[in-house]
Amino acid sequence: MPKKILVVEDEPGIRLSLSDELESAGYQVFTAENGEKALAVAGREKPDLIILDLMLPILDGYEVCKKLRMRGDRTPIIMLTVKDKEIDKVLGLELGADDYMTKPFSLRELVARVKAVFRRTEEKPSNLDVYSFGGIDLDFKKFEASKKGKKLELTPLEFHMLKLFVERSGQVLTRDDFLDGIWGEDNVAVSFRTVDSHIANIRKKIEDDPSRPRHILSIRGVGYKFVE
């Protein structure tokens, strides 16, 4: 069964070229030209990945992302944006996007990012399927998490980052460790700031007081360390 991708883009040329390129790469593609339709198609077709433009009619990309996450849909999202200010990217990542691309982009790069997201979200052989610490239960196989019995909404990327933390508990991880361990060979366009944004998101979800984290500690000038 080919992987299913939903392309949400209101510009006909971008929507057409993207869907043709992804179909050529062997994916099954669905399209939506506005945010409202995107939510409907996502609910009906259950895509494996969503490519989501930010400036959309009816409901913009941020709202679509927020609504998907609110209804428990953790499908990986790559956001497309013409906005190249850091704050716009950070906002997208904070709302639960896994990656973003700034227009104009090359189709080859986008397909590489798609493959990278699938590599990250596919199961990797590991003995570590479940892990618990400080009232937090993680099931890396089912991509399920809870804090004191209450369900936590983590994106697939956040699960992978947490798994890397847990596997190297007590060690200092540099941002390069995350780029290599999570983004792998596709890390060329991923900035350290992106890593920081995702870590900030994880803290918000697992820490009691994200401004004074107890589990994911910042090691000044080096990176981060996970402690139970």
Partner: protein, 231 residues
């Protein structure tokens, strides 16, 4: 602070307006150049969209240049005998070509004999193109856009009426202000620079005419350009 914000928003809007068609052209061209598009029908579809995006970019550049000249007080018009029916016909045909299959229907209605105008033909074309471009942005598929031409002997009327989202009544008086974008447009994430209608008004007034707007929220808008017939 207000001026800085307007400037920053404007730069951001213009950047968006440039990057969107550029991204489309770049992506479509990438597939064509890589030889990934073999089917003739698909190839025609690609070329057609590239042509539309190129037209959008041309309009954008023209608007920016015109706006810059107007701001510097250097905008000049060249008046000659102008057939407004020919201009409207060309623009309607051009926008129909740009239209996607499921886009709004564009109709041209000419009421009786239309006299020749002393006008700047390029400027009138641009004014009409801006009104049509706006109408297309705000009108959903399945609805209609009407371009009407008429004359009462003393004036020539050129109007563009759409069945789009409409304009809030309290914003009708501001739509011709530079950089202004209605909240209905912003709510719908409809993009633009906020210059189009400012330029249309300038062009119409440079011809001694006036522009009128009527709108009903959720029902549509009508922009009417009234040009006096001068010898």
């Amino acid at each position: 602070m207000e001026v800085l914000k307007i400037k920053s928003d404007f730069v951001s809007s213009v950047s968006h307006e440039f990057k969107t068609p550029l991204t489309s052209i770049k992506a479509l061209m990438e597939r064509l150049v890589d030889g990934k598009v073999r089917d003739q029908g698909k190839m025609d579809q690609y070329f057609s969209i590239i042509a539309q995006d190129t037209d959008k970019l041309t309009r954008l550049v023209n608007n920016l240049l015109d706006f810059s000249k107007i701001e510097e007080g250097k905008k000049e018009y060249v008046f000659s005998d102008t057939d407004i029916v020919r201009i409207a016909t060309e623009q309607v045909q051009s926008f129909k070509r740009e239209q996607l299959m499921n886009g709004p229907d564009i109709r041209l209605e000419i009421a009786g004999e239309i006299p020749t105008l002393r006008a700047d033909a390029d400027a009138l074309s641009r004014a009409l193109a801006n009104l049509l471009s706006n109408a297309l942005k705000f009108t959903p598929p399945g609805k209609a856009i009407r371009v009407g031409i008429g004359s009462d002997g003393g004036n020539v009327l050129l109007e563009v009426e759409d069945e789009g989202i409409g304009i809030h009544p309290d914003e009708l008086g501001r739509v011709f202000e530079k950089f202004f974008q209605g909240r209905n447009a912003l709510d719908q994430s409809v993009k633009g620079t906020g210059l189009g209608l400012t330029l249309v008004k300038h062009i119409v007034e440079a011809h001694g005419g006036k522009i009128l707007v009527e709108s009903r929220l959720g029902r549509g808008s009508k922009f009417s350009m009234v040009f006096p017939i001068k010898s």
